[in-house]
Amino acid sequence: MTEETTAQEEPQETDEAAEETIPRVLPDDPILARLAEPFPNVVFTSFEPLAGARQDTAIVSRGELIAFVEAVKDAGFETFIDVCSVDHLNRKPRYDVVINLLSMQHTKRLIVKVGVPGDDPTVQSISPIYAGANFYEREVWDLMGIVFEGHPDLTRIVLPDEWEGHPLRKDYSVGSVPVQFKGSHKSS
């Protein structure tokens, strides 16, 4: 898998002194470049897969999420595709909330990733911007336990209401019943 980092360069690659600002390399795609200009702290990466769309990813911080997503919507990404979450367990921040958006007019995809720490699993809800995020954020809350602030109805959606725990977290076991053979007196 080839991955080109088209965002801020590594400090040790330049000769300039540490105090001087490092010139930022914007993504080469014009739409993304225009989108990236007002957000200096957002990291863009992209790679060209074997099949399907070019995968552009923007890594934002929690504080900038709403502003960035609004800018993305204005840039022409009108179709909402997905919100999901990944539990990295031994990484800081522990969770990733991944927002997947599509621009039908420009035939482009954009993935927006937010890091969410494990001890404070809250993030702003994007359902005021994209109405379709409603059910998806409820599912992320249900299965991963990330709270979306500003969500109108954050209740369990795929699990029974009285379920305790969040199954997709890595410290929640899969819950399998061990196979018991007839006549054996110890569980396998």
Partner: protein, 477 residues
């Protein structure tokens, strides 16, 4: 096959049959609990737990002024055709529960309808009755076993699920797939599209009232299923498209079978169009019913035939082609009004276009391997195992430990008969995925139900739901 959990520190916390203990002093009464409509707090329900086990719990329809999700349910969060009722008389409203066991909800979908006479004022879909924990199960299965898991998500088009998963895994691995394998994949997925649309038209006709459509649709589908059984070994849930290619080559005589399918399905489609398209009862029940505007479709993530019927001109097979589908000529049918009739017409035409693709694959099927040569990914042929030690070792490692995919994160999407089916696959270098998330099209469709069903009458709910073709295995995973 061992199923080691990811991390054994916590135990599964399944609900037990004892009634949950109440809150500290048990004084939180029902109205108070509803007012704090924040996150459902277990233990605040009434003591007769078993009898209320099928109640809505936190999903109940609250009175209008207390419902925080009303805007979204009424569909005015997006530019909409909703007409606001000036006078709301609470006493005349009735809440009706439809499902989860219901002959016309296309699976275990539960709908809460707030009715004003026979007109629907609010709809709340409740899902989760088929939640299978597939995303968690996928973390315990190797990449070669993963197909068996994902194929059961959207059980009407299992080959599409497998294709999406295989494409995602191949992206992480970086392997090239031989052209014959790609052509076989397209052949099977387009046949699956036809089979899925045939079930759709069967259940759609039955729900509208044309009961004989059920028999015709299933009868034609049997021809396709017989072909699937000949090629993959199973009628449904095939586990045929695997990372690296397909599981087996097409058998001898497959061209004659496909010709037989053309005869049966092609003439069948002509018959159904004659039966339904100008039928006045059918037109009355479907024209102008369940309208979805293009802005709503894009805001809610509705893709596929349901969005194309609204005029959204986007098909993943044309926009982001995969598996060599760009070599085949086909059109993408578009609707204008976004109502049930348009969704019906779009799907009937899609079946014809899929037949066109299958015809082209039949004529241009390239010779060659049906799977990649890379022995680290696909198993060697069985008779090589007797001859070569290396083949035996490869076979052993592949079927016990599985191949390891390099670390990375990828999102791949295919055009399933319901819309955009995508898989977000995260690998940390092991032989099992670290995280698999399936972005399923029916989830978005069910979420968009309120905007289509508000202000319709109850029979229109059935017609709209049938025309949208949600599959609950897709929704709940």
């Amino acid at each position: 096959m061992s199923d080691t959990p990811n991390n054994t520190e916590g135990d599964a916390q399944a609900p037990t049959l004892e009634p949950p203990t109440g809150s500290a002093d048990g004084s939180l009464d029902a109205a108070e609990r509803r007012r704090v409509h924040d996150i459902w707090v277990a233990g605040t329900e009434e003591p007769d737990w078993i009898a209320n086990a099928t109640d809505e719990g936190a999903q109940e329809l609250l009175p209008r002024d207390m419902d925080p999700a009303l805007q979204i349910q009424r569909g005015i969060a997006v530019d909409d055709d909703f007409v606001d009722e000036p006078i709301v008389v609470e006493d005349e409203r009735q809440i009706l529960n439809m499902g989860p066991q219901h002959p016309a909800t296309h699976g275990v979908l539960r709908l809460h309808l707030e009715l004003d006479g026979e007109t629907i004022r609010r709809v709340k879909p409740i899902i989760g009755y088929l939640h299978t924990g597939m995303e968690k199960t996928a973390e315990n299965l190797t990449y070669m076993q993963g197909g068996t898991n994902v194929t059961r998500m959207d059980y009407l088009s299992p080959l599409n699920n497998e294709l999406c998963y295989a494409l995602a895994v191949e992206q992480l691995l970086g392997v090239e797939i031989p052209p014959r394998a790609q052509a076989i994949r397209i052949l099977m997925t387009e046949l699956n599209r036809i089979a899925s649309h045939l079930i759709w038209v069967a259940t759609f006709g039955m729900d509208i009232g044309a009961l004989s459509m059920m028999i015709y649709g299933f009868r034609d589908r049997e021809a396709i299923l017989a072909f699937f059984e000949k090629v993959t070994g199973l009628r449904m849930n095939h586990n045929y498209i695997r990372p690296g290619g397909v599981a087996a080559d097409l058998p001898e005589g497959w061209e004659e079978d496909i010709d037989g399918i053309f005869d049966i399905v092609g003439s069948g489609l002509d018959d159904y169009v004659d039966l339904l398209n100008r039928n006045p009862i059918f037109l009355d029940r479907t024209r102008g019913v369940g309208v979805l505007t293009p802005e709503e479709a894009q805001a809610y993530g509705v893709t596929g035939p349901a969005a194309r019927a609204s005029g959204v001109n986007f098909d993943l097979r044309k926009a982001f082609p995969y598996s060599g589908i760009e070599q085949y000529e086909f059109d993408v049918p578009l609707g204008k009004h976004g109502d049930t009739l348009d969704r019906y017409l779009v799907r009937m035409e899609e079946m014809r276009q899929s037949l066109r693709i299958v015809q082209q694959v039949l004529e241009t099927m390239p010779p060659g391997d049906y799977r990649t040569d890379d022995r680290k990914v696909t198993p060697p042929p069985r008779k090589r195992i007797d001859e070569s030690m290396e083949a035996l070792i490869h076979h052993f490692k592949l079927f016990t430990e599985g191949f390891k995919a390099p670390a990375g994160e990828v999102y791949q999407a295919v055009e399933s008969p319901r819309g955009e089916l995508g898989m977000h696959l995260v690998s940390k270098g092991g032989s099992k995925p670290w995280r698999l998330h399936a972005r399923t099209p029916s989830f978005a469709i069910v979420q968009a139900l309120p905007v289509m069903l508000t202000d319709q009458i109850v029979p229109d709910v059935i017609a709209t739901l049938a025309s949208l073709d949600p599959v609950l295995g897709d929704v709940d995973r």
